[in-house]
């Protein structure tokens, strides 16, 4: 077999193979595109079959030859049908192709061979024109697409072009028969090339498709890789849409996500503005594509439900490709590519778009993860900063003593967390009815407001109406129609936002934290939360500081009052001492002189004086001595007030016996019966307690002097509480009960001095001593029925008000 024959055989084999492949493909999918491909290649295959049958039979009837020629002339028409799948073909051209085909067929049938050139050439011209048009359309189709479709169209165009050239060359052979041998070789070469192109274009081997797909995918990926890290989702999706449109030559593309309820599709990106918005979708093909998570061709139009038809109508599409954007663990949405009709090479388009979508899903997943991670890191960093600052504020507040220092410490730290142009603290001053700024931290160019004050009512009225836990946030002061007076200063300074958080301690408004900024709407909810927290801490600290101050104030006041009182007491004590001193000196000396000189007169001149004069001098002596005793008693009494109590456990029974022994010598043989009862031990100053017993017992002896037998009973009895009352009872002259309370005053004498000598100080001394021990003294008596004097010593010694304890 010669080389040209081999080429012819190969060409024929390929055409037959292509026809069988496309037929199988059509039978499997039964769609318009595959039908048209099958028709176009079937047409060529039929010609080949006729040739083969003719050469096998060694000739063929003319009708068969004519059929072959007509089928050849029909090829451009079938090609034009293919073009219609990606480019609209005008009706006129369509009609021209059909009419041309019919006229050519009629001419061939009507005119006997050999055909004159006058007929052959127009037929060839018709063929070349329509074939050329299709070729150009394929080239333009290839131009607008990329990837597999691009290459397949390009090859289809090349094949068609070569067939057109083939027919042209054959036409030349008709016109110039002498060129036949060259023409045969060229035409053979052209037909082999054309069929090769058709093979690769319409029955692309898998390996070739893969390589084209990969090349396109690489191109798609190469772009976003550069920006993948920071790419916004929308940007990624828009890139997917435009790449999809480019790859398929579609009308438009969009990426849709389901809304949260999965009732509608939300367009996230689109190449055509008409697609924007939300689409309600029934359980149609789109929904199935989403559910099945598999790429799908939506179309042709007769398969749409109403919602889908409406959607496709927006961009005048006749079909759509739906590709889920999903990874194994997450579905994002659908990529929809809208096409005029179901694409010629839909499977390839879907495969490529599936690759794009998958990569996009990975990018989205990665970006989402990255975003989440970054958000988490930012959140962590933020909360870390916040915690740090808050603990610093805590420390600063704890370290600060005065409200002003607390406020300054808190503000300095707060400004690092919440940027603002001025942070200040206002406190309410209870007494002065003012709200005063005690601290202010300011951005450059803003004056401090520290020390400024406004009427308390202005502040309270501004804060209080805002509820129990109010915060006032004004994001644009200049927009206020009638700004309250509190804001006037801020407005004058050009501050636009203000955040005022009341300081509340124990449910009482004690002031406010004021943040202001020149920016409008400067404080975000998170910053407000931080400010609120700091305000709460500050409120507690300020309240503590206030309580501390108050406490210190009280302590100080108390201390100064004590000091004052002490000074007063010391002063009066000194005066008393000076008085006693004077009394002891200045009263005693003249008394001593009176007594002395009266004695001298008596001693030296007594015999010369009348008895009466001597008696008077004696009276002078007696009075002087009595006055001296009185003075001594008073001094003793006053000394009692100043003398410190020296308390210890004392057995009163011992003291009483000593006193009775001491006084026994003064009884001059009187008959005295003394009964001593139980006398429990007590806590007392023994010297002073002895004085009490001395005074009471000597009183009892004194006022029983008229009794033949003086009876004294000394004992104790329990009285209310756990107190023990000691008593001295006598059978003496007694006294009128009504006078009982006068007995214990200084110089109060019940009996006249003639009968019962004494200074009137004795019971006063008893009362003073008992009182200093924290006890009390009282008496029961009736005239001539004797008297009983009781005293208690209290449970423990108390310091009487007038006493100054010496340190």
């Amino acid at each position: 077999m010669s080389a040209p024959n081999l080429l012819t055989a190969a060409t024929q084999a390929i055409i037959l193979l292509l026809a069988i492949l496309t037929l199988v493909d059509f039978l499997r999918h039964r769609d318009q595109a595959r039908l048209d491909v099958m028709l176009m290649l079937g047409d060529l295959a039929t010609i080949v079959l006729i040739q083969l049958l003719t050469s096998a039979a060694g000739g063929a009837p003319r009708e068969i030859m004519l059929l072959g020629a007509i089928l050849l002339i029909a090829h451009p028409y079938f090609l034009l049908r293919l073009v219609e799948h990606f480019r609209p073909v005008s009706r006129r051209l369509h009609a021209f192709a059909v009419v041309g085909l019919a006229v050519s067929s009629l001419l061939l049938l009507a005119v006997p061979a050999p055909l004159p050139a006058i007929i052959t050439l127009p037929v060839i011209a018709y063929f070349v024109f329509v074939e050329g048009y299709a070729t150009v359309a394929f080239v333009r189709g290839a131009w607008t697409t990329s990837g597999v479709t691009h290459w397949r169209m390009l090859l289809a165009a090349l094949g068609s072009g070569l067939i057109a050239a083939l027919i042209l060359v054959l036409g030349i052979a008709v016109a110039f028969p002498e060129a036949a041998p060259v023409v045969r070789q060229i035409s053979q070469l052209l037909s082999v090339s054309a069929i090769g192109c058709y093979y690769f274009g319409f029955a692309t081997p898998l390996w070739l498709r893969r390589s084209w797909q990969l090349a396109e995918l690489r191109r798609f990926l190469a772009e976003p890789v550069k920006q993948r890290m920071g790419a916004e989702m929308t940007e990624t999706l828009e890139r997917l849409c435009s790449a999809s449109v480019r790859a398929t030559g579609g009308l438009a593309a969009s990426v849709v996500f389901w809304n949260a309820a999965e009732t509608a599709l939300v367009v996230r990106a689109a190449t055509d503005a008409r697609l924007a918005g939300e689409w309600s979708i029934g359980e149609g093909a789109l929904w199935r594509a989403w559910r099945g998570c598999a790429p799908a061709v939506i179309g042709p139009a007769k398969n749409f439900d109403a919602a889908e038809a409406g959607l496709l109508a927006k961009v005048n599409a006749g079909a759509a490709l739906a590709i889920p954007i999903a990874t194994t663990d997450r579905s994002w949405g659908l990529l929809l590519v809208f096409t005029r009709r179901v694409p010629l090479f839909a499977t390839d388009d879907l495969a490529l778009l599936a690759l794009f979508s998958e990569q996009t899903a990975i990018v989205l997943g990665y970006a989402a993860m990255l975003g989440e991670q970054q958000a988490l890191i930012a959140q962590l960093r933020q909360s870390n900063l916040r915690l740090e600052a808050e603990s610093e504020i805590d420390r600063a507040i704890l370290a600060a003593r005065s409200p002003r220092k607390i406020a300054h410490a808190a503000l300095a730290h707060l400004r690092q967390l919440v940027p603002c142009d001025r942070a200040s603290v206002v406190t309410l001053e209870a007494q002065q009815q003012r709200a005063r700024w005690i601290a202010s931290e300011n951005a450059p160019g803003l004056a401090s407001v520290e020390g400024m004050s406004i009427p308390r009512q202005d502040f309270v009225a501004f804060v209080q109406p805002r509820g129990t836990r109010p915060a006032v946030y004004l994001d644009d002061l200049f927009a206020l129609a009638d700004p309250p007076p509190i804001l006037r200063v801020a407005l004058d300074e050009g501050l636009s936002s203000m955040l005022l958080i009341p300081l509340i301690a124990d449910n009482i408004l004690i002031g406010g934290l004021v943040l202001s900024s020149r920016q409008v709407a400067a404080f975000q909810p998170e910053q407000q939360a931080i400010a609120r927290q700091v305000a709460d801490q500050m409120a507690i600290a300020l309240e503590q500081a206030r309580l501390r101050d108050e406490l210190e104030g009280h302590a100080h006041e108390l201390e100064s009052r004590v000091t004052e009182r002490t000074a007063e007491l010391e002063n009066s004590n000194r005066e008393l001492e000076a008085f006693s001193y004077s009394v002891s000196h200045d009263l005693r000396a003249p008394l001593a002189s009176i007594d002395g000189f009266s004695r001298i007169v008596l001693d030296d001149f007594g015999p010369q004086l009348p008895d009466e004069a001597q008696r008077f001098l004696n009276l002078i002596h007696q009075n002087a001595v009595a006055a001296g005793e009185l003075i001594d008693g008073l001094l003793r009494f006053s000394r009692l007030s100043r003398q410190a109590l020296n308390q210890r456990t004392v057995a009163p029974a011992d003291l009483v016996r000593q006193v009775l022994d001491d006084l026994a010598s003064q009884q001059d043989g009187r008959h005295v019966e003394v009964v001593i009862g139980e006398l429990p031990e007590c806590e007392a100053d023994p010297v002073l307690l002895k004085q009490v017993w001395v005074n009471l017992i000597s009183n009892a002896l004194k006022f029983t002097r008229q009794r033949a037998v003086a009876k004294l009973e000394i004992g104790s009895q329990a009285c209310e509480g756990e107190e023990v009352a000691y008593f001295v009872k006598d059978n003496g002259v007694g006294f009128d009960r009504e006078q009982a309370d006068k007995l214990f005053g200084v110089f109060q004498r019940y009996h006249d001095a003639e009968d019962y000598e004494g200074t009137g100080v004795g019971l006063a001394i008893v009362e003073r001593i008992v009182r200093r021990h924290g006890g009390r003294v009282w008496a029961e008596a009736q005239v001539d029925q004797g008297a009983t004097f009781y005293f208690t010593l209290g449970r423990k010694a108390e310091i009487s008000v007038g006493e100054i304890r010496e340190v």
Partner: protein
């Protein structure tokens, strides 16, 4: 002039007279020099002022000193007498109306030789003055250093 002198420091004229009387009653005939205030007492003791030129080596046998005195108090007189080398051994007895604890304590702190409280009763007063004179003028032996100088 071997009879030792008594220096009586007392502002109350009546008391001075009573003391002189009491001394006389007790047969104490030693000369008595009376100073009417603390300053005068110091002038006498140290030979200054009105007593310039007095031989201060002739120190009184005893100084009977009241506490409450015009110009310079009794305690101050005592302090100065005790502070001076020449007079620190001079016997000083406080004769006071005060029974105040602090007066007594202070006097002893400053090195007094005795402290007696003037009784109001003149009989007792006379007895007390007798005891004082007897003790300081007759019973008590004085160091001889003063006179040998």
């Amino acid at each position: 002039m071997n009879v030792p002198e008594i220096l009586l420091v007392e502002d109350n004229a009546s008391t001075v007279e009573l003391m002189r009387y009491a001394l006389k009653k007790n047969n104490i005939a030693n000369p008595v020099h009376v100073a009417r205030d603390g300053a005068e007492a110091l002038d006498f003791i140290f030979g200054t002022g009105a007593f310039a030129g007095r031989d201060i080596r002739k120190s009184p046998a005893v100084v009977l000193l009241d506490l409450k005195l015009p110009k310079i108090s009794g305690l101050e007189v005592l302090r100065r007498v005790r502070a001076d080398q020449r007079t620190r051994l001079t016997p000083v007895v406080i004769v006071s109306a005060s029974r105040e604890e602090q007066d007594i304590a202070k006097s002893y702190e400053l090195g007094v030789n005795g402290y007696v409280v003037k009784p109001i009763d003149f009989v007792e007063f006379t007895r007390m003055m007798g005891s004082l004179g007897l003790y300081w003028l007759l019973v008590n032996e004085r160091p001889s250093t003063n006179r040998n100088e």
